[in-house]
Symmetry: C2
Subunit: 714 residues, 2 copies
Amino acid sequence: MKILSVFLLFYIFSASVFAQNMSSPNGIFSFSFKVNDSGEAVYDLFYKSKPVLKASKLGFIIKDQPDLKSGFKIVETKNDAKNETWNPVWGEVKTIRNNYNELAVTLEQKTDNLTRKIIVRFRLFDDGLGFCYEFPVQDGLKYFTLLDEKTEFNLTGDHKTFWIPGDYDSQEYVYNTTKLSGINATKGKYVNEIAVKSVFADNGVQTPLMMKTADGLYINIHEAALLNYPAMHIFVDRQNFSLTSHLAPNAVGSAAFLQTPMQTPWRTIIVSDKAADILASKMILNLNEPTKYTDTSWIKPQKFVGVWWGMHVGTESWNYADVNNVKIDETDWKSLKPNGKHGANTANVKKYIDFAAKNGIQGVLVEGWNVGWEDWFGNWKENVFDFITPYPDFDVKELQNYAASKGVKLIMHHETSASASNYERRLDEAFRFMKANGYDAVKTGYVGRIIPRGENHDGQWMVNHYVHVVKKAAEYKISVDSHESVRLTGLHRTYPNWIAAEAARGNEFNAWSEGNPPEHETILPFTRLMGGPMDYTPGIFEIKMSKYDPKKTNQVHTTLAKQLALYVTMYSPLQMAADLPENYESRLDAFQFIKDVAVDWDDTKILEAEPGDFLTIARKAKGKNEWFVGAITDENARTATASLDFLAPNMQYVATIYADAKNADWEKNPMVYEIKSYLVDRKTALKLQLANGGGAAVSLKPATPADQKNLKSY
Amino acid sequence: MKILSVFLLFYIFSASVFAQNMSSPNGIFSFSFKVNDSGEAVYDLFYKSKPVLKASKLGFIIKDQPDLKSGFKIVETKNDAKNETWNPVWGEVKTIRNNYNELAVTLEQKTDNLTRKIIVRFRLFDDGLGFCYEFPVQDGLKYFTLLDEKTEFNLTGDHKTFWIPGDYDSQEYVYNTTKLSGINATKGKYVNEIAVKSVFADNGVQTPLMMKTADGLYINIHEAALLNYPAMHIFVDRQNFSLTSHLAPNAVGSAAFLQTPMQTPWRTIIVSDKAADILASKMILNLNEPTKYTDTSWIKPQKFVGVWWGMHVGTESWNYADVNNVKIDETDWKSLKPNGKHGANTANVKKYIDFAAKNGIQGVLVEGWNVGWEDWFGNWKENVFDFITPYPDFDVKELQNYAASKGVKLIMHHETSASASNYERRLDEAFRFMKANGYDAVKTGYVGRIIPRGENHDGQWMVNHYVHVVKKAAEYKISVDSHESVRLTGLHRTYPNWIAAEAARGNEFNAWSEGNPPEHETILPFTRLMGGPMDYTPGIFEIKMSKYDPKKTNQVHTTLAKQLALYVTMYSPLQMAADLPENYESRLDAFQFIKDVAVDWDDTKILEAEPGDFLTIARKAKGKNEWFVGAITDENARTATASLDFLAPNMQYVATIYADAKNADWEKNPMVYEIKSYLVDRKTALKLQLANGGGAAVSLKPATPADQKNLKSY
């Protein structure tokens, strides 16, 4: 009896006091969870038995209720596991494995008047940990207002960190690389360049957050499946290296209005001692819900050109006239004096259609086609665009017919000027207009201060807005490429027509600002792209802006060859050939790579990777026996090694290598390149010489008998 | 030379210093405007040479700019006049005269760095003054943020005032009648009954504001054409009897975001020594823009019954199930246990359709037909209704067919729960659903706290929302009756499908609150209805709520006969026979008046009127030789005199008089009535005996030979 009761006591104890432990499927991670003496929920994460996150707490601050972060008791635990594969509609790979062990812990907190329950669901993968909170239906929590979330990620040292300032409105920053102790958001690089920003604290940073420990361990923190909830930012304790979540606030000073049952987004910690594993991780997609779309055949990865770069380099304008005060419903557009620089005119668009048709490019984006651009920026204007009225020099029907006759699709542009309520008001009408006039895809933009006023780009209301737009677009079989929207969190698994986003500092910054330093593109895949594809708009051949105006010193901070490599290293199913057609037409040999490169993939190999330094990536075109390799470097020249052991056995391929010329240099001589073709096979290891800020792009296609006759082996 | 230069000097002086004077067309009003020594713009208004408004200033507070209310110079004045007639699409009269003299004064203010110009446009009618401000396009003002408007209405004494608290969110108050010095908004009658309110100051009141001076002069202050601007409230200086405008604020603490050129709403001051003239004034309509709708044949004044009162008296529910936590997109509605009280079920709606068809009533409103009512109230819930999913017991198609087969139209209900952004997001879909299912009119509601959060019912954003809904409805040929929306300002001239609004304390308050005192309906026409028709939902026959629950003490605070009279005194092109059909079926004799009364009029005569005390009104049915008279009183019994000299000459009419029985009393014996018919002609003067809280309703139709034989003369 005594022994039995001791055993019983022990059993009861263990459920509430002793740690819950778990390993990942192959054991490389272990995890422990417990509730400590103060009733705080605490978790630890270990990689190869070494601590990665130590004693990190969990909880919430709720309006008009006691804090929900201590006084917990474990009332139930449930284990589960999954090992399955699934195929994305489009992606970096054809098949994705979802393999994890799960622990769901039900925590109960009893105060004088209030009993509340939450479930923390932990999934431990072989690439890291994901967890979310669930609030089940319960008397103590029906409708409630969150003031903040208090999820800790307590690091074990003063890690090297690649960060941008925590900012509720903008992610368009250059990355800073400092130790955790050196984070200072208001003194971040080029912070004052950003027009609309809401940097909230010196010690605030955004996610995805990328780190490297002194021991060479790579750690990435982000979130997955951001739905009906604000984006998660991070407060950094620069003395203790402890990170705490911080939710983007709303117009009335709280964070989120919630109703049970609800589940927060998943907080993700991806870890490996190989940087390549971080990029290869599919955890964030695995934590998103499968799509419910029954037909996805209308969603088409594609390349596009566009009436766009001319406006960034200043030779063209979005606006039709040079006045500074217009009204959508009142101005007589035909009476305005055209400024002669309006890019979106019928003749110019036809040129782009011709170029696209001639070069097998599927889409032509046109920005500045619709009235309202004269005063769109900086006026916090609500009724700013109507999305259906073209300027007098843009013939909608004629261009629809012309594009159709050439087998090219025009891509719509909906710059909202961050006036989201205006966009929602007009959304059905705007999508009907698209369908009536031959448009199946739209690039949206949110430049400016958000309307509804008081809201932020990263707040719950806008998070719901972006998803609303994507869902409504799906009703019309329209795909969406959102710019200045919240950074991606893998929702394109659930909504595969959310085909790309910007949500970071893109190539355009090189045209008119301090630009993006050469290391920028070696960091973005470890940060922004962890949540999904980025419409980086690569492919600028005319590197220096002095070409357009001798007074300008702006330039793209890469060589031309690196711009080609970006089509492989900067994943997106929607890729722009961003430069002016004439800059391609004068270098059609280099442009050939852009014509050839795929945008949808069966497989991806991360051959070499170091955040902030270099990347070498190989990808297999979907449904074809073709591979493409991209190698890029920062401001340091290097030799990239691309072992081609992924090629099919028993056959030769033609490797066409687009490389920096010997004397190339991103600053001094960026546009010199050389193109060479060789016979290769799976035993070949390419050595690609990358200049300062340089790169190399390689296409690999099966060798024909003629190739085998004419080409040399590598 | 000297004389010439003196003359010149005098001329130049006069334009800038001397007063600008003006009279109304018949001279009954005079007006003077000047800029005083401090450069303040000042106006005076006189009625029959006596001052009504004295030395009242004008101006604005603008964000990040100097105040725009002093330092003015007159740079131009322009006089104009108009005398025309126009015909409204529907209304109290067939033809309206628009006759005014106008003075437009251009004021310029120069500070160190900034020159700004505004135009104040004054129109002087024979019933009062209207004026607005215009901000022309100019360098100093392009996009600007208004913090408040500082328009004064300086009264000449401590006038008797009929007021409700200034409140950015609610107008559903009982009126207080005090002197100006006695205004105390936070201590207004039943203030604490109002669920969602934003009373902003002890000395704040709303418009329309009705006053009576000690000399018996009636003064009404309101605004016309409230577009893209916040509603105007009033600060009362209770010592000096000076009123100053105060604009409803937005989510970010300012009042309005504006862009030149723009024009404010018109501020209206209607004055007469006859109370009847106040009610007969058409100034507010005259100051609104004519409609641009080319086809208005689809806009139909009508009577309707509805599945509605049962919910207010507690015998039915809007919600289908008695749960308190549902989610529009997730709840399995069929699995919920019906509470057995759901009013909007197919069989019950058919009963209403049958009743309507049998009694010549055109419309049947159904509230509670769509999912989401279980938790719609008080949770500040955003995704609260979808406006397209019916409850399991409401068969949309069957009811569409049934109504059509009976020649009756169902009226849609869109309660938004004040989640306006959700409503806009779903609006096209909701209207398409209506058209697909036979609905041409919708009653909307805004019960609750506004979403976008931080906004108010009266703020600029919501003012734009209400107009957006009406304009989008017109695209679908749908008419709108908006409840809990901003009070009307005559915009139904421009948007004649905005067919009615509530925007005040309606009859429903009698079912479940302290109710509306007997004087309430004698005040509303002088206040709320100055801006447009009110959907007051009259016609409750079963006066006491104890009929439904013996414990209840609530009641309608009128006699039954007064409920009939309201169909004449409470103008609306959309009139509800608000009670349950069984309460009509047991009193079909009284109900005959409701069947007979028109809702659209060729002419209106205000026979007797005293705000807070009594009203006797006669109206001629549009296109018919029929008149209807309504007489109501407050808690004091009285004899109303209705001289019938408006009847056509040389013919007799049958006057059917629905009157309080001798011993009727709104409290003790409200439901006794008598109906008598007489022969009358234009020489007849009816003496209608009204009980305490009583009324009388009279229909006047041409006498047939049979009538002349059978009926006695009055």
